[in-house]
Symmetry: C2
């Protein structure tokens, strides 16, 4: 399926994409010859460019402008032309500096990660806090509020805390809730949420009338609490960097973009998809099947702990993004976050 290009075609495509990423302006034939001082004339370059356009890698905004890469052009560039260098020791340290002396919640750490990604890439950083379903059970707690309501608090293995309000149909005392808490913690410890759900279902079936009424209640409530998924949260940081990009000068498009950022649900979908795949993923333009953010590309990687992938992070920028710079940043940051979330775990088992 991939169309093969000869050496010269590749060189010219690369030069154009590089130039366009750097300048944001259509690249002409003269510019190509001069920049990579190739030993060919502009006329020759023009011929090649015409070919590349026909193949769908380039487009011209109008007759007398230069060429601009198409999404397919970026795709080819990323897949076949780009060589990614490793980060220098110093760059790594710049990233790590964001986490020095860090305290507080896991959520805050992930939000800070978003900020770090943004400031390093100078595009928008995005971090998805894992959906609860994909985490591993560590602790459950019931706290009785008034008005027949209670709070269920889950803690995941990685230290993530999520809570949910539930209605108690009969009034249970805090003491009773504590007993339930203990029972559930013993029963569910170390399972992932899916397993926990199944366990609860099985227990409820098996024990039927046998068990203590309270235990039954406990199973019922925890089942109810785990039933609906707690939606994955997404942090988007540094979205304002888009305001500098000339290609988003049009207010209408900018508005669409920001609304997409506010809505988030579609983004969660996309990130979920990328999470399954693992490794650094690159979604270019409309290929992200998310046409609300036309003209945007997304570089993601997932972070994980010993139990497997737990979330996804990345950078959203324009199609014209400095891939060679951003890819290693995303890659390294994902690994770093994995390490940080793990550090409390690897001594564990």
């Amino acid at each position: 399926m991939t169309i093969e290009l000869n050496e010269r075609g590749r060189a010219i495509l690369e030069a154009i994409v590089d130039d366009y990423i750097a300048s944001g302006e259509p690249v002409g034939s003269r510019a190509v010859t001069r920049r990579h001082n190739m030993n060919i004339s502009p006329a020759t370059v023009r011929n090649v460019m015409a070919d590349l356009e026909e193949m769908g890698f380039l487009a011209s905004p109008h007759t007398s402008a230069g060429r601009v890469p198409t999404e397919q052009g970026y795709r080819y560039y990323v897949d076949s032309l780009l060589q990614i260098r490793d980060l220098t020791r110093q760059e790594k340290q710049t990233i790590e500096k964001h986490y020095l002396g860090r305290k507080g919640t896991v959520e805050a750490l992930l939000q800070e990660t978003g900020k770090a990604l943004s400031s390093l890439s100078s595009y928008a950083g995005i971090v998805m806090v894992p959906k609860f379903t994909s985490t591993v059970f560590r602790h459950i707690e019931f706290v009785r509020l008034s008005g027949g309501r209670a709070l269920v608090i889950f803690v995941s293995q990685s230290g993530l805390v999520q809570n949910k309000l539930i209605e108690l149909d009969e009034d249970l005392s805090q003491r009773e809730l504590e007993q339930m808490t203990n029972y559930l913690n013993e029963t569910l410890s170390g399972m992932n949420i899916q397993e926990a759900r199944e366990k609860i279902a099985a227990e409820m079936k098996r024990e039927k009338a046998l068990y203590d009424k309270l235990m039954k209640k406990a199973l019922e409530l925890s089942g109810q609490a785990l039933e609906e998924d707690i939606e994955g949260k997404v942090f988007i940081e540094g979205a304002s960097s888009f305001l500098e990009l000339p290609e988003f000068a049009e207010v209408g498009q900018m508005k669409k973009l920001f609304q997409a950022f506010e809505q988030k649900s579609r983004l969660v979908e996309l990130l979920d998809k990328s999470q399954e795949a693992g490794g650094v993923q690159i979604f270019i333009g409309s290929a992200n099947s998310y046409n609300q953010i036309e003209g945007c590309s997304l570089i993601t990687s997932s972070y994980q702990n010993v139990h497997g992938t737990i979330g996804t992070l990345g950078v959203i920028g324009p199609n014209r993004m400095s891939y060679s710079k951003v890819i290693p940043i995303v890659d390294y940051t994902a690994k770093l976050v994995s390490r940080l979330l793990e550090s409390g775990l690897d001594k564990e088992k």
Copy 2:
């Protein structure tokens, strides 16, 4: 200090502000006469407008444009001219609809409130989740993680959950942590955080060597956990509505604005200040001493439960904001949120 205006001056100022709020374009003398079909000629209006300009209520962008209200003009308008109508039953229902069938966390409820404020006002909604210091203690819990770390989880009376990672300098078992949990819950129940801090300090002093080593440890850890404040969170929803306003068409200013939204810390300050005052507050333009968001006004109100004020919410819009529409919305929403957070509490004591 307030300059007095005669009846005609007031009428004309009001007409100009109304018109400008509606249209966003400088208002001329003819428009004033026609709109409120006053029985005076444009020439007369011009004389009055010149006076109003001299007094600092109006300004003209350039010679042949109409007049535009200054911040002082808005101030006068809001303080002396504006009459606020109550919301209709239907409008109230529109607001309430956002909360129907609502489940989940208190935080989610507050975030939804931000969205409601935004969609109702068509500006940006802002909700400050209370700083932990200003809440009332309900429950504390230690969850042991690995690597000598533990999670402290606080629950406030209103059902707000916050957590914090702490380092354990000696390895405590989960059982020991549970005992600590029980002890602290008994000791601190019903206090606000400030009182809790004092109580801890007092206990630690009084009991010195007497108490169980574990209890001591409990006091020490909880003191440490309560020491630094958990920063107030702020939700800003619907910021993209600013992209439609012609007065923010300039990219530079828009960028400043969004960066201010991203940073939040200065906003927290401002909201804190307004929280102390109570009631509906209106900050106009640079009077908000927050010059990063020049041209923006802020309408806030605080929400409370039986224990007092617990947070602040409001709307951020341009100076040219429909005050008569937004003020009652903010007012009613604050009261509604108070009621919702209370509903679990009033049956309590």
